[in-house]
Subunit: 348 residues, 2 copies
């Protein structure tokens, strides 16, 4: 595909159609698939990152990207699995569609002549160890891109030190701005998203938080995209590593989705080896969700829900009493309508 010639051709053809068509006719666009491929390695949640050329703002990291060609693949998912395998060597297990991103840039520019690329984001989960020899790309911790999401060692310092003062500043600049499309004030949005002033931290609001930082001009992507809010900062702290295009937004969507999903679907086991101890399971859940869980209750919950069954074996050398090994109990899918790890944060 895609010799440069062909690409030009397709761009030209897109243009032609657009030029001939009256307003409001179907315009041809190109479809790309982006995959947020997630695993947990050594209790660290990671995503498969491709390092490309640095963009205008110096961002080099991106998500795997591939084209979708309806001639070649019957469905998006088949296409996705195909080029992910070809590009990186990773065989995807679970995959689900996340969201289709099609904004014509956040800086609407009428002079835009290139072909429009719509990208369909996918979330894929895979077991870490099975795919460590990558043909291309590397596994990077996702907290690298979202340091404020990592609550495993308590509330991240960056929240208090950087994010809170900046966002409060930004919010106060337009304190009373309440429009009909945005019925909540900036202050309230900031409070809810980031759990300031005693509001609770909702680990699922990953995208909302990222978009708020973007709006406030606090992430590098905002400056790159020429958002006005980004210009108002004298010196802007780097909040997480930026990514190319809107890939960080896609990754944020993916993280939010996994965090929500493990609570009502047993997708956590896609990230685990076939046999594991309950504590390993807990650590994996914690890697995804952030906060610590109450160990005894976690065990009660997981066993009580019939999500796992003991294999009969034990794991020695745990540093203490040996731990029973468990496996995912598939039958749970046939028993409960929404089996998942319904965890509540706790201590220890």
């Amino acid at each position: 595909m895609n010799s440069p010639t062909e690409l030009r051709r397709s761009a030209v053809s897109a243009n032609r159609i657009v030029a001939l068509a009256p307003r409001s006719e179907l315009a041809s666009v190109e479809i790309g698939l982006n995959a947020a491929i997630v695993a947990v390695a050594n209790n660290e949640p990671v995503a498969l990152i491709i390092r490309g050329e640095s963009d205008v703002a110096g961002a080099t990291d991106g998500l795997p990207f591939g084209p979708f060609s309806p001639r070649e693949h019957r469905t998006f998912e088949i296409g996705l699995r195909d080029w992910v395998r070809a590009q990186t060597g990773v065989e995807l297990g679970y995959a689900e569609q996340l969201y289709t991103f099609g904004d014509r840039g956040r800086s609407a520019d009428p002079g835009d002549v290139g072909p429009h690329v719509v990208s369909i984001g996918y979330l894929a989960l895979t077991e870490a160890n099975s795919s460590f020899e990558l043909a291309r790309g590397s596994w990077n911790s996702w907290y690298h891109y979202f340091p404020w999401e990592d609550w495993r060692k308590g509330r991240p310092g960056i929240l208090e030190a950087v994010i809170e003062p900046r966002l409060r500043d930004w919010a106060s600049r337009l304190a009373m701005h309440v429009s009909s499309t945005q019925p909540v004030s900036r202050q309230e949005r900031v409070r809810i998203c980031f759990g300031f002033d005693g509001a609770s931290w909702d680990e699922e609001k990953v995208l909302e938080r990222f978009e708020l930082l973007y709006e406030a001009g606090l992430v590098d992507e905002a400056a790159r995209d020429g958002r006005d809010s980004a210009k108002t900062w004298q010196e802007r702290p780097q909040l997480g590593t930026p990514m190319q295009f809107d890939h960080r937004r896609i990754l944020a969507t993916a993280i939010g989705r996994v965090r929500a999903k493990i609570k009502y679907r047993p997708v956590i086991f896609e990230l685990m080896p076939s046999e594991f101890t309950l504590y390993e399971l807990q650590r994996t859940v914690e890697a995804i969700l952030g906060p610590h869980l109450h160990k005894q209750n976690f065990r009660r919950l997981v066993e009580g829900a019939g999500l796992v069954e003991p294999t009969g074996e034990v794991r020695m050398r745990t540093g203490g009493r040996p731990a029973k090994l468990f496996r995912f109990r598939r039958e749970v899918l046939l028993e409960r309508p929404a089996p998942g790890v319904r965890v509540k944060p706790g201590k220890s």
Copy 2:
């Protein structure tokens, strides 16, 4: 993806990456938007349906459809609101992206040479009475298309009379078929999806049920698309009214999404007038979800969660004691991370 420059870069860089992948064609496709516009009128959940020319199989009903032109609209949602207003006169309130449907074969034409159309499904909610003079289209009960989903008068007879025997027949034809992509037998899938043999009915599995009926060749769309399974039936009962293209699948997705969503987001109020009694609220929830709810507990739940507040007025002529009027309490959005109508089925 932002300035035109960057956008061009995006295509080029995509091309570079893809050059490493196996050959395929980056074909241009066209993007359409489909909207499942949902309201509740007289305790009946309805969707806005456009009646078009009858297709190969005689289906005339379809969802509103409009093209997406990146030149004209900055985002999908802006485009959607625009042409929905133009086509039908309806002003959309809440709208969210559902899913992007791109399977080849959507067009139901095997020798398909035209441009491939990818359609992005949207769910929109609106208050019924505000939009009853439609420029085009009509409000049809969604149970018209999915009669087996309507549990408001108990278990729908069609399940026992038609669906259960047919699906059991279909499942037994390939009883032991368990592939790696489909780790559950047909029998088990049928049992879980439709709640046979004492399995519970999960009202959210609307799409799964529809797809199972499609696979089994029991809905008209399957015959139209030339599925083999559809040919095995001597006479095929009509299970619900068919729709054009894959619109019934999109509608099924929408119904499943609303049913799930009202449990953790207060979207139910998008369907209500600004003032209502608690019983009216309950009837609306029941219209969406199906089963009856326990009245006293529903009240306790909704009030206890702070979702509503009394206006101080009452509604007379309820047929009994006057009912207090309530309104949605917006502040709940600022208080709870996931405010919704967390209903449990019950009696009375």
